[in-house]
């Protein structure tokens, strides 16, 4: 099983940009979970990105794992502790872990960007997926294959963020409404063409040309909205 140090595990920790779409592996605070009492919990999204949304809207509930204090997982321990996703130094340098045995569904309206305290790097997401597969099936999947399978959805997620940050140049414009509007516009852009860009992306996720195209489209949209050229 793959091990990962905090420097490679997280994309952002503590201060997380609102422009990053909510994604598998994100950690949220203050979530009251049905059946887990009245205490707010830390949770990590374990749902696969494809099963979290219908179109650009979240499904009513999203699968999460409660996150609790845990000893730091080091060395060979990564091959054990198969029921958790270790989250070292998650809060104030303290170590936590997402517990797969307590996986449940959280109301998606609670999982908003203001409550998000960490996002995982791409590599961190693959490690989470590897541990989830192992926990549920006792099956080992290698990281490069997981990376290949996840590549198109990760491409979309990163590119959507780039789009939002290009169009909404000023951080004060990163409101929920504005970000949702840009999400809808970005996905409409992905669906354009015959074959659509989304289909092209599925065939080959290494589309450097589409990244350039997306950026140009975002710049055009910013200019249209009266932003800096």
């Amino acid at each position: 099983m793959e091990s990962v140090e905090p420097e490679q595990l997280y994309d952002e920790l503590g201060e997380v940009a609102r422009t990053r779409p909510i994604f598998q592996g994100d950690v949220f605070k203050d979530i009251i979970l049905p059946g887990f009492g009245d205490e707010p919990h830390l949770v990590q999204i374990v749902a696969h990105p494809c099963s979290m949304r219908k179109g650009t809207d979240f499904r009513p509930r999203i699968t999460v794992a409660p996150v609790e204090r845990h000893k730091r997982i080091e060395g060979n321990d990564w091959d054990g502790y198969l029921g958790i996703m270790p989250l070292a130094e998650l809060v104030d340098g303290n170590h936590y872990a997402a517990k797969f045995v307590d996986v449940t569904a959280a109301p998606s309206e609670l999982l908003h960007t203001d409550a998000r305290i960490a996002t995982l790097s791409d590599h961190g997401i693959y490690v989470l997926q590897q541990r989830l597969v192992k926990h549920y099936t006792r099956f080992d999947v290698d990281i490069p294959t997981l990376a290949k399978v996840a590549a198109p959805v990760l491409w979309e997620m990163h590119q959507q963020r780039d789009w939002a940050e290009t169009v909404l140049d000023d951080e004060t414009d990163w409101t929920t409404e504005n970000l949702h509007s840009e999400e809808v516009t970005f996905h409409a852009w992905l669906d354009e063409g015959n074959p659509s860009r989304r289909l092209r992306l599925k065939d080959d996720h290494t589309h450097t040309d589409m990244r350039k195209e997306a950026h140009q489209a975002a710049l055009a949209r910013r200019a249209e909205a009266g932003g800096p050229a």
């Binding site: 997280y10 994309d11 999947v141 290698d142 290949k148 399978v149 198109p152 491409w155 040309d209 350039k212």
Partner: protein
């Protein structure tokens, strides 16, 4: 060897007696002589080849260093613009090249300072892409960096992985088709053949990617 000895060995072919001598020439000795000559020439050729390789490698390193110096005159936002928007690289890959997190790269875009080391790493990568384009004749080097090398099913090694392991000159060998990719990898990454995935990625019934065990 004396002249007479030479005559005895190779003969002139002008008399029957000499022909008899000629048949007495030991063929093994002749082969041995040729073999020595071939060994010598081959060794000389190999030595020259190794020297040429070494000179070529030094020339490339100097070329890369010069290009890196030229690129590093650009500030970080300009380097990011070149890599992300002119080349179309992914932010995650840019972050890996610079050895920082993606969020750090995003902060640089917003004007935060990057360390001189990070700037230098970005400049070096931009310089290498330029070399791949000009010397390796790779049309879209950023795209090439992300693609799996042609090694057969189950092997997922990207040129970018080699770069991140410090094997930038080997990348030029691969780009310029100087030997088979497998041989270059044998040299720079022994044991790569043992890391082969048992899975294949396929398009599932819902149109999305899934994985399954490879049949062979």
């Amino acid at each position: 060897m004396t002249a007479a000895g030479t005559m005895r060995l190779f003969g002139t072919g002008t008399s029957a007696g000499e022909i008899q001598d000629y048949t007495a020439v030991p063929k093994a000795a002749q082969t041995h002589s040729l073999s020595i000559q071939a060994d010598y020439l081959r060794t000389q050729s190999d030595l020259v080849s190794v020297e040429i390789e070494s000179v070529h490698e030094r020339a490339r390193e100097m070329d890369l260093a010069n290009r890196t110096l030229a690129k590093s005159r650009n500030d970080v936002p300009n380097l990011l613009d070149e890599l992300a928007y002119q080349r179309g690289m992914a932010w995650t890959d840019i972050a890996e090249v610079a050895d920082v997190s993606v969020s750090a790269v995003r902060k640089w875009r917003k004007g935060r300072d990057a360390s001189p080391e990070s700037r230098s790493r970005l400049a070096k990568f931009a310089a290498l892409l330029e070399m791949l384009e000009q010397k390796g004749r790779i049309q879209d080097p950023a795209n090439w960096m992300e693609m799996d090398l042609p090694l057969g099913a189950g092997y997922h090694i990207r040129p970018l992985d080699l770069y991140l392991n410090g094997q930038d000159v080997a990348l030029l060998d691969i780009a310029e088709h100087r030997g088979r990719v497998e041989h270059v990898l044998d040299y720079i990454r022994p044991g790569w053949r043992e890391i082969r995935s048992k899975f294949e990625v396929f398009e599932d019934t819902d149109g999305l990617r899934s994985m399954r065990m490879r049949s062979e």
